[in-house]
């Protein structure tokens, strides 16, 4: 299977503190790769580094054949990478329609994409004029995903999308991720909880101290609970 995104030898710092230490990671086309690890392991930093929000001091991030580390951050989404940040990070003072418009503007997508995304999240259609900060947690997560999908991305980065949501909403998000996989979208999913990962991921990468310790098929995760205990501390 060919790689949608390849990270090799990635070093990232916050100030003088090194967070990623030569991280290697490969995301295959059309797969869901989950990053698991303890708090502070470097999962979110990995996603931010892909988006160019945390600069890479060494190493490379390649989207297909294109090197992303040499691009300014605002060019990364235009290359086809969409990001759903932890905590949604909606533009809370803007309406639902305006948040979607921001997503469409990133890659100059038009009304057809807007309609397709709203078909995926029909509830948002009734809330278009509502300020996004006033939506419920689940609705906000839907909007965060809708905004990202407006880019029609090749690679989707999801940072703890199920955090703080009720079970029905978590199931809805899983369905969406699965549907995107069917459409050939490659996804990196950051999660803390193993049970949230198993139903949807193809492979799991265990991130520890800014390094990818091991990448395994999700089937192996089911057979070997000790793996999860070793890297995540629960299971």
């Amino acid at each position: 299977m060919s790689a949608a995104l390849t990270i090799s030898g990635l070093d990232c710092f916050y100030g003088e503190v090194q967070v990623l230490h030569g991280l290697d990671l490969e995301l295959n086309k059309g797969e869901v790769l989950c990053l698991l690890g303890r708090n502070g392991a470097g999962k979110t930093t990995t996603l931010k580094a892909i988006m160019g929000l945390v600069p890479a001091r060494a190493g490379s991030i390649r989207l297909g054949e294109r090197e992303l580390t040499s691009l300014p951050a605002h060019e990364v989404p235009k290359a086809g990478v969409a990001y759903v940040p932890q905590g949604r990070r909606l533009f809370a003072e803007l309406t639902v329609a305006e948040n979607i418009e921001i997503g469409l503007m990133a890659r100059n997508k038009g009304n057809a994409v807007r309609e397709a995304v709203l078909d995926l999240f029909p509830l948002l259609r009734d809330r278009l004029k509502q300020r996004s900060g006033t939506l419920s947690g689940g609705e906000q997560q839907m909007l965060a995903m809708a905004r990202a999908l407006c880019l029609e991305p090749d690679v989707l980065l999801l940072d703890e999308p199920t955090e703080g949501l009720m079970p029905s909403m978590i199931a809805r998000i899983r369905e969406t991720v699965a549907a995107l996989r069917e459409r050939g979208v490659s996804t990196i999913l950051v999660e803390q909880r193993v049970d949230a990962v198993l139903p949807v991921a193809d492979r799991v990468a265990f991130i520890e101290n800014g390094r990818n310790r091991e990448t395994v098929d999700v089937a192996r995760l089911r057979d070997d609970p000790a793996l999860v205990r070793r890297y995540v501390g629960v299971g």
């Binding site: 160019g52 951050a73 803007l94 990133a106």
Partner: protein, 293 residues
């Protein structure tokens, strides 16, 4: 003069002050709202606008309206260009660090001020108004030009509101204001937005100065008062809030006009400062601002 005509005159004078103040303060408020930096040099962009208006009007001969019309367009454009260059050369390199940019804009204030003193001189110089029509009210005659300042300011404020709330550029500016990092993650070139906003803020100050200079004269130290009053307005109205800026400018301008006429200008300033202190204590985000989470 009887009480009512006296009050009407004071209110009209206050509205002229409010009109100019609203434009100037809106520039400061936009820069802080979007870029999160306090531009201490904002008053100097106001001064530059007035000085350039003088330079343009004495260069162009003919009817004063011609020189004034050219100044109204050219002066804000030149000031906006200077602000854009300053943003690229100084603020961008400081990565918009709040403390460092305050120090940098203080430096910018002195550089612009001293350059104006060197090339323009210490004199206060008049600029001829584009027309000198007087509107005769039943109690007194009032300058038609001053009323046109109020109308022009209202139009410009409406245009700014329209751009901010109804256009793609405005949407991009608001998204950048609310969350810089997420804006970047959605392809918004935040650095370019910052450059444009800093230039726009300076242009608003410059256009306010061009409007007021026919009744105030251009002087190299004239930037201080607008700066202080703009800070008062944006603190009361709420940083980054267009509605708050307009309401606070009306409040400060009209009360300043009325209190100055009936009591003393000093009392007007004391009350304005007291209102700022009360707002800072009881509603630090301002009347229309949003509390920082």
């Amino acid at each position: 003069m009887a009480f009512f005509p006296h009050l009407l005159l004071a209110t009209l004078e206050g509205l002229v002050t409010s009109a100019v103040l609203a434009l100037t303060a809106l520039g400061l408020s936009l820069v802080f709202g979007v870029m999160r930096i306090v531009n201490v040099a904002h008053g100097e962009f106001f001064m530059l606008g007035a000085v350039l208006a003088w330079a343009i009007t004495i260069t162009l001969t003919g009817h004063p309206a011609l020189g004034f019309a050219v100044a109204l367009v050219l002066s804000p454009l030149i000031v906006g260009g200077i602000a854009w260059i300053a943003e690229r050369l100084v603020l961008r390199r400081l990565e918009y660090n709040p403390e460092a940019t305050i120090v940098a804009t203080i430096g910018l204030l002195y550089i612009i001020q001293q350059l104006a003193l060197t090339f323009y001189g210490p004199e206060a110089r008049p600029v001829a108004p584009p027309f000198s029509y007087r509107i005769q009210l039943p109690w007194f005659g009032y300058s038609g030009y001053k009323l046109s300042i109020i109308a022009a300011s209202a139009l410009l404020l409406l245009a700014t509101w329209f751009v901010l709330t109804r256009t793609r550029i405005g949407l991009v500016m608001r998204a950048t204001q609310y969350d810089r990092e997420t804006a970047l993650a959605f392809g918004i070139p935040v650095g370019r937005v910052y450059g444009a906003v800093f230039a726009l803020g300076a242009m608003l100050a410059a256009v306010a100065a061009v409007l007021i200079v026919p009744i105030q004269q251009a002087h190299y130290l004239m930037g201080l008062d607008p700066l202080l009053l703009s800070f008062i307005v944006v603190i009361i109205g709420g940083l980054g809030s267009l509605r708050g800026t307009v309401v606070a400018a009306l409040l400060i301008g009209v009360s300043d006009g009325i209190i100055s006429v009936f009591f003393s200008p000093t009392l007007a300033k004391i009350i304005a400062t007291l209102v700022v202190a009360l707002v800072l204590v009881f509603r630090p985000q301002g009347l229309f601002g949003t509390a920082t989470k």
